[in-house]
Symmetry: D2
């Protein structure tokens, strides 16, 4: 049995040095964060492993946009699955809008009058929708004949004027999936075109072929989840069809297992489904993604290459 090593802080300690000590402490949040980092490092360095990244929750309003784009541009991940909200927030920023620091105790009626949409303690300016509507309207002809949501998102990434998650995926040929894209601001903008009598051919089930093909042909697979929701579940579903199930897993969320839903389900539950290999290295960490993601990314940056 390994003893708990108490963390000892020296001056000007780097994030990687601290995270390495957390691994030596080895228990509770610190220990799990240290372990999550090690597993991420291993799966990214494993040349035989396809890394599936699931992103849910307000990561863009939460200041994680540059880190996510860096992870994609570093080609640390092979597949991205995310929510329509994340892509909407990201497109908004790519079109030049910002999110703002606010308060969870704000007067929401007042915010409504001022044109700010609250996301817990961040605010999104409502005029983001004007820019997005114009952007979607201008480019609708290029989007409307995309058969799969992935093709739609790569096209969106190609069209996006500035650095963005979709653009990084398109440019690095990283497949990006978003099964519930209609449930988002981008969905609403598409509806605006449909309401004007236009048509769009994007199909609901087409992406399944592609994500399952990737899973099916992966020598090994690893999963990294920030948040749960559809992104996690969609990757988990693909893991059922990976020959060896997932060999590595990291889940970081504030959701809990007790309500029984997929978002908070512990990764070990996936073993019963054949989603996770019984011999896989995996860890669940209950932590705000905006705290854990920068720590892990900073340490990985020092450890990889």
């Amino acid at each position: 049995m390994k003893p708990v090593n108490h963390i000892k802080i020296k001056k000007s300690i780097t994030v990687n040095e601290l995270a390495s000590q957390m691994d030596l402490a080895g228990v509770l949040g610190a220990g799990r964060l240290g372990k999550a980092l090690n597993i991420c490092e291993t799966m990214i360095k494993d040349k035989n492993c396809n890394v599936f990244l699931g992103l849910a929750g307000p990561l863009v309003p939460g200041g994680m946009r540059e880190i996510i784009i860096d992870m994609i541009e570093n080609k640390w991940v092979d597949v991205v699955v995310t929510t329509g909200a994340t892509l909407t927030h990201d497109l908004g920023e790519a079109l030049g809008y910002r999110h703002y620091q606010g308060s969870a105790d704000a007067d929401d009626a007042e915010l409504h009058k001022k044109g700010f949409d609250r996301v817990y303690e961040s605010y999104m300016p409502n005029k983001i929708y004007e820019g997005m509507e114009e952007f979607i309207a201008d480019n609708f002809d290029k989007l409307k004949d995309k058969k799969s949501i992935k093709e739609f998102l790569w096209e969106l990434g190609m069209l996006t004027p500035k650095r963005s998650i979709c653009k990084a995926c398109f440019e690095n040929k990283i497949p990006i999936f978003c099964p519930a894209i209609s449930d988002s601001g981008i969905g609403l903008m598409i509806w605006g075109q449909l309401a004007r009598g236009k048509d769009i051919e994007t199909r609901t089930f087409d992406d399944l072929k592609e994500i399952i093909d990737i899973a099916w042909t992966s020598k090994k697979a690893g999963v990294i989840y920030f948040g749960g929701g559809v992104p996690k579940n969609y990757i988990q579903q693909a893991m059922q069809l990976t020959p060896k199930s997932a060999s590595y897993g990291v889940q970081i969320t504030m959701d809990r297992p007790e309500p029984g839903g997929s978002s908070g389900a512990e990764l070990k539950e996936g073993i019963s489904w054949g989603k996770m290999n019984p011999k896989a290295r995996f860890v669940d960490l209950i932590c705000d993604a905006t705290i854990a993601m920068p720590i892990i990314f900073a340490a990985l940056k020092e450890r990889i290459k």
Copy 2:
């Protein structure tokens, strides 16, 4: 200011009598449950109000299937939005399978060998997939030309041999939406057909026209959420396009606001977005859905008609 009235239990107290006392206590979980019940009662009785029901989480493995079907057959709700998992669990039961009582501490590798998929402490027999595959294969020709997911689900309900959520929606002409249907066992069964070279035309964005039309033309709207996820967010998005925003709201979930995601966001946040009317009656309750739903339904059954 109203005093907290201490709950006093008489013998053989009915659920409705207890829930009414919880409302008089007026605070914490009990008070919120009492208030949630009252708001549900008011919105269902309000002839001018369209009630949108969002269902997420393991409600079918959790024993809530009969209550949900009853709510639909009673026409207490006008729109249902749910997850692919719920429809998969429901279809499985309609095909004659059951879910089983299990343990969260089970040996998942052992369960895997025995063919049981764990959902926290319930088990789903893996052979459910065989029945579903056969059912989908037999009926694929009737499903494959459905343009919207709602049409697909009504068709599925019509085809389902026994009482089910989809069937109740179909028979009572209650629109049912499931934006992320591809992220589910049903999605996997459709993929099985695509992998055999078949094709299906169901489109991603088509349902938006219908749900937004219903929202747009509602004199009043009310929302009831058990769990968060896509079902809640999709309804919330439609509320932005209801003339008066939602007038009533009940949210029951174990998700919390602090991570900042849509699932746990307090309903008042919706006021900033124009999803919730500033004068709306609404309440958030942090409670396991399998505890709150039967209490509310039992009391409503006594109070309505």
Copy 3:
């Protein structure tokens, strides 16, 4: 394996009938609530079993006062351990004050000016302290030579003018412990007397002899925890010294195991300590106490005697 039985609600269903169906559903919150009820019933009916009740959290401001007093007067429990806050709230009500229904979004500075202390969404009138100060001052001579906290609390119960938790314990000779009594409004009132130069002999460690004696001589022991904190931990500690460890356990709290503290620790953890018998019947339920307690009490009232 037992199938999940879907709950089916008939009109005018009683709480006991519903809770019995929850047990048949058998999973998630509903199943655990059903199981908690059954275990409470068994341990209360077991003539050889001493039942230790731990109470933490705002149960009195939350409307649970009558139920708690009834449980004590029914002699369903043999030992009560609680917090100073609960005894303070209870004494306040026994002196004629009330708690009030409020809002978690209140303006706290405004409440402060108006003389109301907020406990999440209940308010306690500040003048409660005036009544308590007078009561403690008037009775200080009778309290000051009590050697143990239990003797102090029984004396307090004897002196209390109206029905109260302490009074019910005193009158029914149920030992009541409160290790952190100094951390409470009652503690502050005692400090007020000390500041006037008075002295009080109540000792810190003396109660340990009594609670451990009860544990030590119990043929069997059962524990029921609403909330965690010192009450739970103090009982758990005594269970280490019960010959057979606890034979029954029910824990109902919103605290979670992941932070690693005693409050949210799962009961099974107690097996490693010798606090819980490996063959004990026990269950953990994550639920607001103000929802679970009335349901369990209502069903017990029908089932016992």
Copy 4:
């Protein structure tokens, strides 16, 4: 309004540099952690401010022991309030025992046979009690006439052979309080002496005079809470008697406000009680203490002196 600045990681980034960027991001967990750090820095540097530190939860088994001792030895805090469990774990380590890295899925009956007590995923060797019993027995005569718990703990610190929390408090003349000391392993060891017919005079209410005196005479007061429980509540209670209430506040816990208890109550609630100054700078952070504490301490070490 300040925009959310996306965190951008450079290679070999230090913890302080990252935490400073979290403050610039400004929202969600990251923003709150950045703000918590800034408030800690300000209150520690404020020469007129007495800093009250509340410690609850498994901080010693969680690897935080060296950091806590360093904080005390740096004289960054003026008062420490903690739980009996923390002092027990700390004394165990000072006597040469260690805690061990374990698993939350362990077989607790097996652990019991092997003599390990589980604290979520850390293990405490049971033989720690033998060492403690011997230590307490040997020193009982020096402990038995201590009138207040603080005097008892300082004496314990003086007697402790190695570096420890109590010893650091004793040597630096930092008052340390533990109202529920009887609810702990140390309490059990004292009980062992009482069971042998010995006596100890430590009184329940005596410390109130000292902590309230410190509060009463503080020009300014600041509170830092890792975890809730009695330590937080006891300090909060003292804040009611500080002339200006607390001017600074940092709360880091996984407990939530919704159950209504003191542990998870938001700091702003304290304004209604006169515990927190309406103009105070304060922040609540929902985060595992073993993650937040090292980050804050590492950054403070760079920022202070």
